[in-house]
C-alpha cells in the first residue's frame, strides 16, 4: 500500500494497515538516529511551522529534532508570542502562515477538533501534536511502536491504561490504535475520571487497580494533573498513589514480563515509584527514543502527500 493522507489528525481515521505502515516506516527512521550522520535529506527545502497554541516543551522538542533530522527548515510559534493574543482568529493565523508557502504545520491546541478544522481549510499538511482531550496520535503511535518492538505484536495483547482517562488525549488515541490492531484494552482509575461510556466501544472499565493490571502485558500510566484535584475530581495525589500507583508491591501480582509505560513527564511517587520508573519493566526512556522515530516517519509521510 501507499500513504495517501496529507494530514495526521486522529488514529480514529486510520485503518490498521495505515497504522502498521507508519510503524514500519518508523522502524527505518529509528536507524537514522543510531548512525554516525543522524540526518537524511528527505525534507530538505521544506518548511515546517510548529504552532503550539497550547504550550509544550517535550513534544515540541521531539518534533523539532525530528524535523531537523529530516533536514527541514523550522519556524516555531507559540501562543504567547503570536498574534492570537491580539485577537486574530485561529483560521486567519494559519492562513497567514500558509501564505508564507510552508509545507507542513505541526499544531498543538487546547480545543478538541481545532486541527481538523484548520486542516479542512488549508492546502498544506497538518500534523496533530495534541488537541485538547481528544487526540495525540504521535504519542499513541510511539506507545504502540514500543510495545510492538518489545512484544513482537499487538493483536491479542492485554493493555491497561491507568489514570485520568476522562481528560486524556493520550488515552483516547491509544484506545483507538490498540483496538484497531486487535489488542484488548482496559482503562482504570478513580470513578470520577474513568467514564463507563468507553465500554460501548469494547473497552473494559474498572476502578480497581489489581483487577485492571493482574493479567496485563502492558500497563500505560497517565500523568495525574493537580488541576483535577483542585476541581474536585479526587481528594489528593496521596490517595491516588495509594490506590492507583504502581510500586514494588503491585509488581508482585503483575505478569513477570509486563511492560510499564508512561507518556511523561513522570511524577515519581504518584503514578509510579522511582524504583519502578528506573526498574527492569520500564520502557519509559525507550518511548522517548521511539517518539523521535515515529515523528520522523509521520512528517516524511505527510510531506510526501502535500502537492505543490
Amino acid at each position: 500500500m501507499q500513504w495517501t493522507k496529507k494530514d495526521l489528525l486522529c488514529l480514529y481515521d486510520l485503518s490498521a494497515e495505515e497504522i502498521e505502515f507508519i510503524l514500519d516506516t518508523a522502524a527505518e527512521f529509528k536507524k537514522v538516529s543510531e548512525r554516525r550522520v543522524k540526518k537524511v535529506p528527505a525534507l530538505r527545502g521544506k518548511t515546517v511551522v510548529n504552532l503550539f497554541v497550547e504550550p509544550s516543551t517535550r513534544t515540541r522538542v521531539s518534533f523539532e529534532l525530528a524535523e531537523q533530522r529530516l533536514s527541514a527548515d523550522i519556524v516555531n510559534m507559540q501562543a504567547q508570542s503570536s498574534s492570537l493574543l491580539k485577537g486574530e482568529t485561529l483560521l486567519d493565523t494559519v492562513r497567514n502562515i500558509e501564505a508564507l508557502q510552508v509545507d507542513l504545520v505541526v499544531m498543538r491546541h487546547s480545543a478538541p477538533g481545532a486541527q481538523a478544522f484548520i486542516a479542512r481549510n488549508l492546502k498544506c499538511g497538518v500534523v496533530n501534536a495534541g488537541d485538547g482531550a481528544h487526540s495525540h496520535p504521535t504519542q499513541a503511535l510511539l506507545d504502540i511502536f514500543t510495545v510492538r518492538e518489545k512484544k513482537g505484536r499487538i493483536a491479542g495483547l492485554k493493555v491497561a491504561i491507568i489514570g485520568d482517562i476522562l481528560h486524556s488525549r493520550v488515552a483516547r488515541s491509544n484506545i483507538w490504535g490498540l483496538l484497531k490492531l486487535g489488542a484488548q484494552v482496559t482503562v482504570a482509575g478513580p470513578a470520577t475520571l474513568v467514564p463507563r461510556e468507553f465500554e460501548e466501544i469494547g473497552v473494559r472499565v474498572c476502578h480497581n487497580l489489581r483487577e485492571a493490571v493482574a493479567d496485563a502485558d502492558v500497563v500505560n500510566l497517565l500523568r495525574i494533573q493537580h488541576e483535577r484535584q483542585t476541581a474536585g475530581f479526587f481528594p489528593s495525589t496521596g490517595e491516588y498513589a495509594r490506590f492507583f500507583g504502581i510500586n514494588d508491591e503491585t509488581l508482585k501480582y503483575m505478569k513477570p514480563d509486563v511492560l510499564i509505560m508512561h507518556p511523561g513527564p513522570i511524577n515519581r511517587g504518584v503514578e509510579l515509584t522511582g524504583d519502578v520508573a528506573d526498574g527492569e519493566h520500564s520502557v519509559i526512556l525507550e518511548q522517548v527514543t521511539n517518539g523521535l522515530a515515529i515523528r520522523m516517519a509521520v512528517l516524511y509521510l505527510v510531506a510526501g502527500c502535500v502537492k505543490k
Partner: protein, 423 residues
Amino acid sequence: MSEYILKNARVIDPGRNVDSIGDIGVRDGVIEAPEKLHSPEVIDLSGKVLSPGFIDLHVHLRQPGNTQAETIATGTAAAAAGGFTSIVAMPNTTPAADNAGAIEFLRQNAAAQGVVHVLPCGNMTKEGKGQEMSGIGSLKSAGVVALSDDGRCIQDHALMRHVVEYAKSFELPILDHCEDNQLAAGGVMHEGKWSVLLGMRGISGASEELMIARNIILARQIDWQIHMQHVSVRESVKLLRAARAEGIRVTGEATPHHIALTDECIKRYDTNYKMNPPLRSESDRQAVIEGLADGTLTAIATDHAPHTRTAKEVEFDSAPCGIIGLETALPVSYTILVKGGVLTLPQLIRLFTAGPAEILRFKNYDLAVGSVADITVIDPEACWTVDKNTFRSKSRNTPFHGMSVQCRPVLTMVAGKIVHREF
C-alpha cells in the same frame, strides 16, 4: 383594498377541526366568505394545503446589537419564506429588551421593515442577568406577548417564583430556557458517549431536567403558565407528561434540529452543529418525537439564531451556540415526522399553529370569517434539496445544507398581504 379567493386548497384548520377541500376568501386583511367578494384575484391551490399562519415562538432577530448576522427586515423575510406569519422575538438583543423603550423600538422597526407579525417578548430580569426583576408591568403595556430570559435561566429559585407570581398578575406567559448553570459546567456538547469519545466537555441532560422540575413545581404552586423552550432530553419529556396529566399548566416546544439530529454529528467538529441545548443522544431524540406525537410537546419552534460566518468559523470550543432555522423548519419537520410516519399532516400543522397560539393565550386562532388573514400555504409533495445560498436570512449557519427534504412553503399571507409566493 385587496381581495383574494384561495381556491381548491386542502384546508387544514386545527382551531376548528377542519380538514377538507375548500375555498378561503380574503378582503382588507381579514377572512371573508368567498361569495361576498366583488373582484377578487383567484389563486388556484389545487394539490396544496392551506392553514392558519405558522407561529414561531422562538426567534432571535439580532436587532439591535448584531445586525451583521440578521436584521428585523431580513429575519422577517426569512420567516415569510419559511411559511411563518408571526414570530416571537427573543429579548437578548444589545441593549436587551427589558424595558418599554426597547419594545417600542422593536415595534416601530417591525412595522416599517418587517414583513410578518413580530410579537415582542420582554426579559424577565434586567438585561436577562437573573438578578433583578425587570419592569414587567411596563413591558406588558408596551405590548410584549410573553416573558423570557432566553439564552440564560434564572438560577435563583426565589426570584423565579416572584417573577412567575408577578407575571401571572399581568397575564403574561413565561417562556423559560431551562438550564442549571452548575450542572451545565461550561460544556460545549451533550454529555454522553460522544463527548467522552471526542474528549469534549459535556452539558449534562440533568441540567435541563432540574430546571424543568423547578418550573413544574412553581407552575403548580402559583397556578400559572410556564412554557419550556427547546426541550431536548428524555427525562424532561417524562416530567412534562406527568405534570400535564395532573393538570399543571406547563407546556413544551421542540426544535427541528432536536427532532432531526444527534450528538454523533459533532464528530466532524462542524460548528453548524453547536447550539444550546446541544444535540442529544438518539434515545433523547426519539423521546422528543414521542412527546410531539402524544401531545406532551405542543409546539415546534426554531430557536432561529443567526451568526456571521466569521463568528462560526472557529474551533468548536470557541464557537457561539446557535443555528438558523426559519427556512428549514417546515421541510425538516415534515420529512422526519410526517414522511417518517410518526405524525399526520394535520397533527404537524397543529404544532405550528394552534399549539403555539394556545401557549401565547390567543383566542380563536383559526380561519373563521372575521379572523385576521394570516395564512400559510404549503406543497406537501414538493421534494427538493436545501440550498443555504438561496436563504433570505443574512446568515448561513445551518446544518441542513444539502439535505433532501419534502414539503415546501409556497405562499405566505400576512394580514391579507402576500409576503411570499412561489408560483
